[in-house]
Subunit: 295 residues, 4 copies
């Protein structure tokens, strides 16, 4: 995906502008066209605002058409490979491209129920959710009244658009669409950060095996060089951090029992705020540990 | 298994005495016979001491015969059902009666290697070990020199005898063969013990799924009514406690995120001292927790 | 003070009964006389109940006289030495016998204001309070309406009577008038209880220097041999525990900085429930510690 | 004090160079003169190095004269006001300008003992110490052998010079002479940083009352806007942080006991590394807290 600077967009003619931003709203280049008249934009936030206003100013039929332009989640378009590139990448980010047959069937069933009740596809900004969370959203929103569900769909479309703009445009500001998850290990036996601790980071799922997302090694500050998740929303879901503590203390020749009282320490926690900052540290001796949600 | 009081034993004639204690040492009623001459016994500890002295005073050939009277671990006798009742129960306590074919093959291989090197069966007091720990003992002790391994076998036979005496005899003293594992949950959000918390207690294994040993509910003191393990040795191994924390705080209407930051809190730890006291508490709020080895 | 058994009381004639219990209610032997008719008592709780019922069944004038029979707190009777032995000991327990002139003047002022407003002495069960707490009670209750303050006075008289009964009578039951304050030190550096730690226990006061109540040494379980307070109510107030941690780790040759990061660790906390159980432990390494209200 | 840029110094003639740096070494402009020949300096570290080399290359008599040019700590020169401006400010930083008569007498006694044994003044970089720590250094170093004490004096002179250079010179690099002490308050009751918590920071002394160094209020990140100490060495000594926790939870309407179990939480700790980073956080609920040395 190529990016484009805000300056270039501000200087572009309408054709170039719409070519660059026509797909921010799925199959709805008219949103970019409407926003074009509001140039120049001081910030990507202003551009995002202008596009949202264009959607809000459109007729109910236009909005309904915008909604209907979205593909089903894990639907036939996905299997057939006929989704837009953006939608494909987004659905893959939540693992919707590697569903088991049972899961695919469940999505199929929910998609049908949703279309039958609301006469439109179910829309959710999947980058903000893990697979379990999407299913939970699906089941909850099926209970809504049609009017509030129309609103919910537009809110999600705005979130999708914000993330697409964030990836597409270079500007001096950033949309507030990113969360951050970090950890660090403090060795309270020695009173120092713990370097060289192997950390595994996994996504938990109600019905599937834990899925390894990342492995990392703590640096001399007891932190990972990069956040565990950064530069994107934190998908709502349950996670586990595994800290290889016995190996760490063994390297320091610290007395441990045999087998060591603590070996791999698992911390399980949930992310509920995709744009939040989560700091989940481990304070540890060979005989005790504690953790907390920091920030 | 019927029990017998120390007073009855002290008053018994030799035939009755040996009938009662002849199988404390596997296929070696001569140990009870030798101990009989040392009556009366003030305590079960004195009786245990007298029987150990009888073994130590025996000839090397007698000791070798005592050792050879023990069955293989998870061996043919086990499959054929020809072990003594005590040995059968002991091997079952460590799960040696429900091995997979691969595990059975591994034991078979180790038994052969051990017999080939030492010309005797591998003896370990299995009630003090989980399955992984027995395999680790097996592999370590295969490296020993024959002389030290003879000693190791007798040490283990004494441990087995102590546990059999502990189960057989009623006396005012108890042999120091028991460990204790307990937990409690302290709600540091409210500053009170946490009642009604569901706790699951599982044995972990390198190659198998966690095995549920017990479920419990905390009482008004935040403790379980009985220790998680008590009245027997703590099998060396790795364990997990799972505390259902989100449910607990939900019942109290404490604000939690959605999904709750902490749901089921897993604590994994190892037991290394079968006769030790392990207290593994959880201090918890909806946003933090800590644990430690207490006593 | 001599004690008397419940059995003896149940067998006593009225004169002996009243001789033994006539001073449980200050200058009001009629309470014991009335209770005498209810013999025999199965428990000290039943006796206490009977005496309270006698007070409740008395005329308003009798109750008013009972109240007026009590001395002022830290009043002229105290200085003149004309209080009953019980009242003298009770007031001394809260330090009312060692007031500064300014404090004495403050009590004098409050006594006058209270008598002027309610036409009776201020009554509080002083064994349940530290000096600061008594003053705070005084100031709060001065704001009450007369009717509710009459009730409050009787409630306090019942508490005083319960504590006097608890000290006077030997029975198989005990009145629930005792609290307990305990601590223990867990060395999470070694994963064991910390023996030999010097602990100082002090009462804090808003306007005075901390007052040392007790010193103790942790035993091999990391606990003190006796509770810091036990067998009596816990006086409401603020306290400090001081744990000599650097000395402890120095004896174990544990590496510490120079000067040690932690030396004497102070924990300050308040007691608010005189009949409660407070457990205030210290979990400590040379570089970290934590505490909590346990039970 | 005016500062001068490294560029200006590199361009200066010898007279201007010595005018700017002649007092970096006490009464020893020859050090600056010698360093002048090594221009230009790429960094303040290179300049510091050149000046140290000049001292090391000097004759023993010159070094002895340099040492003897230093004033006594809290000595007659201090009382007479005849010290250099730098020495005056440095001694004041450690509180040596506000000694009690007893402390002054103790310094007088130590100064005499030191001069008698070593025939030179006692030199220590006082900005790296609190008053108690200076006295301890004094007493320890009095035990040294003369040769090692000569070395110690030069080491301290280099530390003094480094701090004077750090304050005098603007350059793109900084000498590693600064420590940092910070704190933060995490509310583990709510799982968020605790804003608006009053914090007092005090220096503790063996023989004197605690001395308030700073008060601060936590910001929305639960931190203080500036470090408690920064931009200078951390004086070796004992300190106390006091966190006004009951007020904080009261503002949030969190249930607390009356009086609150925790009110002002004191954390006492020592600084042993003047150039270190100390992070001393408080994790707190109304019923529990923990702290640790972080970094």
């Amino acid at each position: 995906m190529t990016t484009v600077s805000l300056a270039t967009l501000n200087a572009a003619d309408q054709a170039a502008f719409v070519a660059a931003l026509g797909d921010i709203y799925e199959h709805a280049p008219w949103v970019a066209q409407a926003a074009f008249t509001r140039r120049p934009f001081q910030s990507v936030a202003a551009l995002h605002e202008a596009m949202m206003e264009a959607v809000n100013a459109a007729t109910p039929d236009q909005r309904r058409a915008l909604i209907n332009g979205h593909p089903d989640l894990a639907g036939k378009a996905a299997r057939a490979g006929t989704m837009t590139r953006d939608s494909r990448a987004e659905q893959a980010s939540a693992g919707l491209d590697r569903l088991s047959d049972a899961e695919f069937a469940r999505f199929h069933e929910l998609n049908n129920a949703y279309r039958q009740k609301f006469d439109m596809p179910f829309i959710v900004c999947v980058r903000r959710h893990g697979k379990d969370s999407i299913l939970r959203q699906f089941e909850c929103r099926l209970q809504n009244a049609p009017a509030s569900e129309l609103n919910a769909a537009v809110t999600e479309i705005f979130r999708i658009a914000a993330l697409r703009l964030d990836q597409r445009i270079e500007a001096s500001d950033r949309l507030p669409v990113h969360g951050r998850l970090s950890t660090h290990v403090l060795d309270t036996h020695r009173g120092q950060p713990a370097p060289g601790v192997v950390i595994e980071f996994l996504e938990l799922s109600k019905d599937a095996q834990p899925r390894l997302i990342a492995s990392a090694l703590t640096n001399r500050d007891g932190r990972t060089d990069a956040p565990l998740i950064g530069g994107c929303p934190l998908p709502i879901g349950r996670y586990e951090l595994r800290f290889h503590i016995a190996d760490y203390f063994a390297r320091l020749d610290v007395r441990q029992s045999d087998p060591p009282f603590l070996d791999i320490v698992p911390l399980q926690f949930a992310i509920a705020e995709p744009e939040g900052h989560y700091h989940v540290p481990l304070l540890v001796t060979p005989w005790s540990y504690s953790t907390y949600r920091g920030s």
